[in-house]
């Protein structure tokens, strides 16, 4: 807070700084707040002011074969890709943190690279490779590439969790008579689980929000929710998109809350484990 003896320049600076920060935060959330009310509008255009409220765009969204199909596809592709990414990524992270071997940092860079390679390149490359194998316009092709895009997040979060892991706990557990499997199940896994799950959430969000690879790889049968929205925004932007957006915003709130809850739990477990 500003002390009483602050000079006028300090006062001006203090308030400019505050106003700047608050405006940036408003800038960050306003788009999310703006679109939600429009989904309840009766109007066929996405315009304010809203004259009559109705649920017609939710009926449109949940009653339309195309939207429902894309929602269903998203809920097929994203969970499977997430599960694969969690398994492969966690194993790799355990391997990477357990021992040093030649070329480790290069390998780590390569495993993380799907995060930085432009998705268009991944999409075109996957198309070139998958088309002769008959994997385009298939769920399998889409799932495989989405897994690759999501896996770096799992590797990063699990590695970070393992970095904080106290190896003496394993020795203590063995010392108390537990066999390696019991040690893993009762000691190691509960401690790294928050890392695995939060990595999984990132991987899920990546797949759930992925458009570009889907544009190249998926046929109309595999069109996902973001792909459908992309097409919708490009062609004619109807309030059904606002309804879809609202559903997605609620979904991201759920993801965020889960993640924060996990983080709090991990923090508690870590402090409990140390004491």
């Amino acid at each position: 807070m500003l002390p009483n003896y602050a000079s006028p320049i300090e006062r001006i600076w203090f308030w400019t700084f505050r106003i700047l920060c608050v405006s940036v935060l408003i800038f960050l959330v306003s788009p999310l707040l703006v679109i939600i009310p429009l989904s309840f509008s009766d109007n066929t255009f996405l315009l304010y002011p809203i004259e009559n409220f109705s649920l017609r765009w939710y009926h449109e969204f949940f009653g339309n074969e195309v939207w429902l199909n894309s929602l269903k596809n998203s809920f097929i592709v994203a969970p499977v890709a997430t599960l694969l990414a969690m398994v492969l990524g966690s194993l790799a992270a355990v391997g990477l943190t357990s021992s040093d071997f030649p070329g480790k940092s290069l390998l780590m860079s390569i495993l993380i690279s799907p995060m930085v390679v432009p998705v268009v390149i991944v999409g075109v490359g996957a198309y070139l490779f998958f088309a002769p194998l008959g994997l385009t316009s298939s769920y399998l092709g889409l799932i495989l590439v989405h897994t690759a895009l999501g896996v770096p997040f799992v590797v990063i979060t699990v590695s970070a969790t393992l970095g904080n892991f106290n190896a003496n706990l394993i020795k203590a557990s063995a010392n108390l008579g537990a066999n390696p499997l019991t040690t893993y199940r009762r000691v190691v896994f509960p401690l790294i689980a928050p890392g695995v799950i939060s990595g999984g959430l990132f991987a899920f969000a990546t797949s759930f929000d992925e458009v570009v690879v889907t544009l190249f790889l998926a046929g109309p049968e595999q069109s996902t929710l973001p792909r459908q929205m992309f097409g919708g925004i490009k062609e004619n932007i109807s309030p059904a998109i606002a309804a879809a957006a609202t559903v997605l915003i609620l979904f991201s709130i759920a993801l965020l809350l889960t993640l924060e809850w996990l983080r709090g739990r991990a923090e508690k477990m870590r402090t409990a484990a140390v004491h």
Partner: protein, 420 residues
């Protein structure tokens, strides 16, 4: 006496084996176990990610058309001395190749490829193929017949193009992506000004990425500083305002920005309602719109790492500097800021890298002047189906991204990448 004995003798484990050997074996076992754990993911990424990218890179220099569909001509023309017109044998081979191409309906593949080098080649090939097979009487020259059919066959320039493309790889697409073309000597030269297109697109990509990164850092740094220095309860609450957009689908945000920025959108009607402007501003479908939406998408990527760096700086440093007589601004600049530079620069570099490959936002919120390299990769893939150009532009974009990523890994270490 016995003490010196044990000092000199090699250390052994309980079973009498040398401890050194045993430890080395133990370490090797551990390494092998580690590699075995990483192997499934490495193999998976090899097949779903690295091989596809390698295919893209290969495709950028791939030149299969002429050698596949004009095989005999390709073989014959190799012996041509590149002076005057090729020999009778080359023309005869061309006649045979075109006859086969006509039967197998591959004429369009050949003509499409050759037309890239000389426009009008398409019609020349197609018209000639239609007249195949040639009726050549004994003693008559195939060459003369070809030239009689279309005088362009008498132009060595066309044969140079065929000869140039009669090998399985070509720098053509990569050169074109850099606005270069191949001279007769085989060296690259800059294309004439009116034919240049891609250098300015690469320039635009870098330019826009630079501005978006700069704006994001300028807006994100103060917010991160503010949040890092607020009491925990307040900052956790405000942090949600940063995290929520971060977790929200990019498409939702782009749709919202269109609602806000369009001609009849909320911002324009608010400004007009307040009487600040007389007619609506053009905010969407131009560079302003792309900048606004991109900064919105990338701001959390600046704020989150900056925040975690700032959280780790003890507030006592600033207090010490101020109590030693520094002005708060000076203390910030000399003590606080230098400690944040590395972390913020790393975040900024990551944002720049992400920006360079962006496709969705410019595609939905930009006009033709805002499209970056990614857009043209998609354009050549989906619209004109020119794999060579798509792959070449993609490869160059990949090289640029990977160079910056290598710098990033060197500076930060890929394993230090944090997710906020």
């Amino acid at each position: 006496m016995s003490e010196t004995m044990t000092m000199n003798a090699p250390l052994t484990a309980a079973d009498g084996e040398s401890l050194k050997v045993k430890l080395a074996r133990e370490r090797r076992n551990k390494q092998l176990k580690a590699i075995a754990l990483v192997a499934p993911l490495a193999l998976f990424l090899l097949l779903t990610f690295l091989v596809p990218i390698a295919m893209l890179l290969k495709r950028s220099v791939d030149n299969p058309e002429v050698i596949t569909y004009l095989p005999q001509t390709s073989a014959e023309i190799a012996g041509w001395d590149r002076r005057g017109l090729p020999s009778e044998a080359v023309f005869a081979a061309m006649a045979r190749d075109l006859t086969i191409a006509k039967e197998q309906k591959t004429v369009s593949e050949i003509s499409k490829r050759l037309n890239m080098d000389i426009s009008g080649f398409r019609s020349l090939i197609q018209r000639s193929a239609r007249k195949m097979p040639l009726e050549v009487a004994a003693g008559e020259s195939v060459r003369d017949q070809f030239i009689a059919m279309d005088e362009r066959w008498g132009d060595p320039e066309h044969w140079h193009v065929i000869a140039k493309n009669a090998k399985s790889w070509t720098p053509y697409y990569l050169y074109s992506s850099l606005d270069l073309r191949e001279t007769k000597a085989g060296t690259p030269e800059l294309a004439p000004e009116e034919e240049r297109a891609f250098l300015s697109i690469f320039g635009r990509t870098l330019w826009m990425s630079m501005w978006i990164t700069l704006i994001s850092v300028l807006l994100g740094y103060p917010v991160a500083y503010w949040l890092a220095n607020l009491p925990a309860r307040k900052s956790n609450l405000l942090m949600i305002l940063v995290l929520l957009p971060f977790w929200t689908s990019v498409l939702v945000r782009v749709a919202s920005w269109i609602v806000l920025l369009q001609q009849e959108g909320l911002i324009n009607s608010a400004l007009m309602g307040l009487g600040i402007i007389g007619e609506p501003l053009q905010l969407a479908f131009n560079r302003t719109g792309v900048y606004i939406a991109m900064v919105h998408i990338l701001l959390p990527f600046v704020i989150l790492p900056a925040y975690s760096v700032m959280k780790s700086i003890p507030p006592t440093y600033m207090r010490a500097a101020i109590s030693l007589g520094d002005h708060p601004f000076a203390a910030f600049w000399k003590i606080y800021f230098p400690q944040t530079v590395a972390g913020v620069a790393a975040g900024a570099l990551l944002v720049f890298i992400m920006c360079m490959g962006y496709y969705i936002t410019p595609a939905l919120l930009g006009g033709p002047q805002e499209q970056m390299v990614s857009y043209y990769v998609a354009f050549y893939t989906n619209v004109t189906i020119n794999w060579g150009m798509a792959a070449a532009l993609g490869s160059l974009l990949l090289v640029a991204t990977m160079t910056l990523y290598a710098v990033y890994s060197k500076l930060v270490g890929a394993n230090k990448l944090s997710l906020g």
